[in-house]
């Protein structure tokens, strides 16, 4: 049988481009038979071919043993192939590595330098902790070899071994020191590399080497080594401040004199990171003037990021970011240049520029920066094109329709009209954006990561130091609303939090904010795009809350109520629906109070009309979903509305019924009810509450949280799931229940098919009574409305795990304590706070939960 050499294999592969997989399968089978043969040459060719196939992605681990066999071959060429196979496909758990230990040891001690070198190479690749422990001394012995290339390999290999076998570090360190004085420059260079890597984790050990390294730095001309030494010093200077002073001189020399960009970059980077610029000694630059070292660095950096070469720009921006963290004043005058970098086609450069710019934000620059970023977002292709699956907020509706920007944001409009490819026609309150996109390729803001970063940066810049940079809050709210339209990424949560934050905290902007929210909610397109969980829905939810909460700041309008019960209601989830309904209630009562101020017969008619339409709307919602009175008869009921939603719907219904009763007869004066209903919501002003406020409320004396409140309650669970007769009649003693057993049993309680033989405190009956079938009690199910609701409630509560390890009885008792009466006011719980605790400082507070 002809064996194929490597060349034949490759030629065959190239010839069989179409049926590659088959060809490779065939070759794999041939190789399999070849490696079994005893001829070493044949074996090694097979291993060679396997190496190649491994590179194409095929698994070759079945031949591991054969690879080790080939490694043992006396011929150098074959040995090398075996080591290559090992380096490529062995990994930490390969068991044949044990066999290789002695083999490698023999090779390391061999007189042929080539064999030693190939063994070192292979060992460096496959080192496992066991191999490292065993072979450490052998490699260390080779460090004194006569050939320099063996020495340098041994050094680097030792570094690898030390990573796996840390105790070897003690032996390694003095060797490293010796090698720094080695006559051969490449050995010195390797020693420096190794020290550099090691010093990153453990700089103290290598501090004594600093003088020698300093010498090397001054004397050497090898740029690679210089880079490594400079990097090394960056890890050493934090622990040794005097070192910084000493380095000051040579580093500045290097910076001024070197022509190698990489070395220059490394020096500047070290100077910044190692805080050598903190040394207050002046430095002479090229023309002999004395300037501050930091300024010198900054000046050289400018050269980097103004260059046309993108590589230099990128590294320049990286270092600028570092410099900004330490010396922001040096960076601020680079604003214009960095702003230009925002348009770079390279994503990494843009991201770096973005972080530098947002660090530079001040009152004066904030305006321009945000406008620039917004224009990037608006002018990109993302919003126009068909959405990627991962952008839920962007529906398939083309964006080129109405865009309700803020009327006050004339600056935004002006900027957008300047930009190419877009034309905005401004009208008070509605801006129609018709974008004729040029046929350009993907613009700068097309990647979702970048857009996310941009949005976060905008928000971050504005809210820094509790709005320290903002001078015009209305502009900020307008920006946030625009972001809702243009973001194109899922930032709804962030935006809604920020809108809420600024509206609640900054009183003056509340009116403006409410107006904007109303505008947003009237935007049919935006509302139509909201589905449960989408970011638009979250923002709309917040908008509804704000509208409801501060509706008294606007002139009341009965259409607002319709706004808050939108057509897409069913698509929202429970929380959001509840918020909308609550807001609708507030708006309704506010409108009533307003309208009561100028009561007349027409007004009375209006009130009755509006009230009855609301009633019919609500009852539609209720009946369509709760399955009561299913008009379609016999069709499976749609999923029930969550409890909080139905309860609020019912509250609303009650209120409207009360109002219609009060207005059943036309009267000259508004009924008292209309005037007073809104008081329910305006009893207290809601201020942000700090997260620690609850802890500061003193517990009143005499409060005992541990004693049960009522008597023992019959076990509701056994009404629904009567316990099956136990398998074993043995009864466990009540006292010896371990916490773990209890938990397990509790989790099994809810499975009706789990045969629980255990006894526990909740059982009304003891096990001893149950063995007889006749004694199994027949339980009457009480299916009255209240009872099942309560049972549902308790079942729901039980499904949650108990965090405090309370017994089942206490938990049930807690559930059964009378909850606050179902009044429309859910804010009652917070009432204690303003009286009892000290007023909380605003910047650290969080807004209250939305109800």
């Amino acid at each position: 049988m002809f064996e194929k050499s490597l060349t034949d294999l490759i030629q065959g592969l190239r010839a069989n481009k179409r049926n590659e997989a088959e060809y490779i399968q065939k070759s794999l089978e041939e190789i399999q038979s070849e490696v079994q043969q005893s001829d070493m040459h044949c074996k090694s060719t097979a291993i060679d071919k396997l190496n190649y196939l491994h590179m194409l992605g095929y698994d070759t681990n079945w031949a591991n043993f054969n690879a080790v066999e080939v490694m043992a071959s006396p011929r150098f060429g074959e040995k090398r192939k075996g080591y290559l196979a090992a380096a490529q496909s062995f990994h930490q758990e390969t068991d044949v590595l044990m066999l290789a230990t002695n083999l490698i040891r023999k090779d390391l001690a061999s007189s042929n330098a080539m064999e030693v070198s190939v063994a070192l190479d292979g060992l460096a690749q496959v080192a496992t902790p066991e191999l490292a422990t065993d072979l450490f001394d052998d490699v260390a012995a080779v460090l004194g070899h006569s050939r320099p290339f063996i020495r340098k390999r041994a050094l680097v290999c030792l570094y690898r071994l030390v990573l796996k076998h840390p105790e070897g570090l003690h032996a390694l360190a003095p060797q490293l020191r010796e090698r720094l004085d080695d006559p051969d420059p490449s050995v010195v260079s390797s020693a420096v590399s190794v020290i550099c890597e090691l010093a990153r984790t453990n700089p103290h050990n290598y501090l004594p080497l600093a003088p020698r390294l300093y010498q090397l730095m001054n004397s050497s001309t090898n740029n690679w080594m210089l880079i490594k030494i400079v990097k090394l010093f960056a890890s050493l200077t934090p622990i040794e401040p005097r070192l910084a002073k000493k380095l000051h001189g040579p580093l500045s020399q290097l910076i001024c004199s070197t022509s190698a960009m990489s070395l220059l970059y490394e020096c500047i980077h070290t100077a910044v990171v190692g805080d050598i610029i903190g040394v207050p000694l002046p430095v002479t630059d090229n023309v002999g003037r004395e300037i501050d070292f930091a300024e010198l660095c900054a000046r050289k950096l400018v050269f980097f990021y103004e260059s046309a070469d993108h590589n230099l720009r990128y590294v320049g921006l990286v270092t600028l970011g570092e410099l900004q963290a330490r010396r922001p004043e040096l960076v601020v005058n680079q604003y214009e240049t960095v702003l230009k970098c925002l348009d770079d086609p390279d994503l990494s450069i843009r991201m770096r520029a973005l972080s530098v710019i947002s660090g530079m934000a001040t009152r004066r620059t904030l305006d321009r920066t945000v406008k620039r970023l917004m224009s990037q977002l608006i002018l990109s292709n993302t919003i126009r094109l068909q959405p990627v699956a991962s952008l839920p907020s962007v529906g398939s509706i083309e964006y080129g329709g109405k865009y309700n920007g803020s009327a006050a944001d004339s600056d935004l409009m002006a900027m957008a009209t300047d930009a190419t490819g877009a034309s905005l026609v401004s009208a008070r309150g509605s801006i129609v954006q018709s974008r004729q996109l040029t046929g350009a390729g993907p613009g700068p803001a097309d990647s979702p990561e970048y857009r996310l970063l941009v949005v976060e940066a905008i928000v971050d810049m504005c809210t820094r130091q509790s709005y320290g940079n903002l001078s015009n809050f209305e502009w900020y709210v307008a920006v946030l609303v625009d972001l809702v339209y243009t973001a194109g990424v899922d930032v709804g949560q962030l935006l809604s939090e920020k809108i809420l934050d600024v509206t609640v905290r900054v009183r003056q902007v509340r009116e403006f904010s409410v107006r904007l929210m109303r505008q947003m909610l009237s935007d049919r397109q935006l509302v139509g795009r909201a589905t449960s969980g989408s970011s638009t829905a979250k923002v709309l939810c917040t908008a509804a809350y704000i509208l409801g909460e501060y509706c008294s700041l606007l002139s009341a309008n009965s259409e607002d109520i319709a706004l808050l019960l939108p057509e897409c209601f069913e698509k929202l989830d429970g929380e959001q629906q509840a918020t909308f309904i609550q807001a609708a209630i507030k708006v309704y009562t506010n409108w009533l109070r307003d309208v009561a101020g100028y009561w007349s017969t027409e007004v009375w008619e209006l009130v009755r009309a509006v009230t009855s339409s609301i009633i019919s709307q609500l009852s539609d919602l209720l009946s369509a979903r709760t399955g009561e009175g299913n008009a379609l008869g016999g069709i499976v009921a749609v999923a029930e509305l969550p409890l909080q939603v139905t309860s609020r719907l019912r509250h609303f219904v009650e209120i409207t019924k009360a109002v219609s009763v009060a207005t059943s007869n036309p009267s000259d004066n508004a009924p008292q009810l209309c005037l007073e209903l809104h008081e329910l919501f305006t009893a207290y002003e809601l201020n942000p509450v700090s997260a620690a406020a609850q802890g500061k409320v003193p517990i009143p004396d005499g409060l005992d949280l541990d004693s049960p409140i009522g008597g023992p309650i019959p076990d509701t669970e056994h009404i629904m799931f009567p316990p099956p007769p136990p398998v074993s009649p043995e009864s466990r003693p009540r006292g010896s229940q371990s916490g773990g057993g209890r938990k397990q049993r509790r989790s099994h309680k809810n499975e009706p098919f789990y045969l629980d033989g255990g006894n526990d405190a909740g059982h009304a009956r003891s096990l001893a009574e149950l063995p007889d079938v006749d004694d199994i009690p027949v339980v009457q199910l009480d299916l009255g409305g209240h009872g099942s609701e309560d049972a549902a409630k308790t079942r729901k509560k039980k499904k949650k795990s108990t965090k405090h390890g309370a017994t089942k009885r206490e938990r049930r008792n807690r559930v059964r304590t009378p909850s606050p009466p179902p009044a429309p006011v859910d804010i009652a719980g917070d009432e204690d706070m303003p009286d009892v605790s000290a007023p909380q400082p605003q910047p650290h507070s969080t807004p209250p939960a939305q109800h």
Partner: protein, 143 residues
């Protein structure tokens, strides 16, 4: 330190791979595909040669139809490694005399030998072209 080195052609076939960190087979496979996707779609004229990749960086350079990619740590000097790539290609060129992709395919173990001479365990260990070439001559005389 270098995490791994990949040489891939434009279609994504790997011509050389060298892993200096522990990765399982599936991870390697995934990484190779990801690197190819990231690197092949970049525009040489307008974009830099450095890409942020997971929490490392890829320094790459395109020579004819091959992408030479080094994956390094974030605190390494990218410009130096760019020079390293160039040195590697230069050595290959002098060794093979006008090297092309086919040379790499047929003599892949020689390419590994050159790589091992230059880089060991993730660090550049030899930067002098003449030294590397003399070593390679020694090695080939042994064959």
């Amino acid at each position: 330190m270098i995490r791994f080195i990949l040489v891939q052609n434009r279609q994504g076939k790997t011509r050389l791979e060298k892993w200096y960190s522990q990765y399982s087979e599936q991870e390697r496979h995934k990484l190779k595909a990801e690197v190819h996707r990231t690197v092949a779609s970049r525009d040489q004229k307008h974009q830099s040669n450095f890409v942020e990749f997971h929490n490392h960086r890829i320094v790459y350079r395109r020579y004819a139809g091959l992408f030479f990619c080094f994956c390094i740590d974030t605190n390494d000097n990218e410009l130096a490694y760019l020079e390293g790539i160039h040195l590697f290609v230069e050595v290959l060129d002098s060794y093979h005399g006008n090297v092309c992709e086919l040379d790499l395919v047929f003599n892949f173990y020689l390419v590994y030998a050159v790589l091992d001479e230059m880089i060991l365990a993730g660090e550049i260990q030899e930067t002098s072209r003449s030294v590397i070439l003399s070593r390679l001559d020694q090695l080939s005389s042994l064959e």
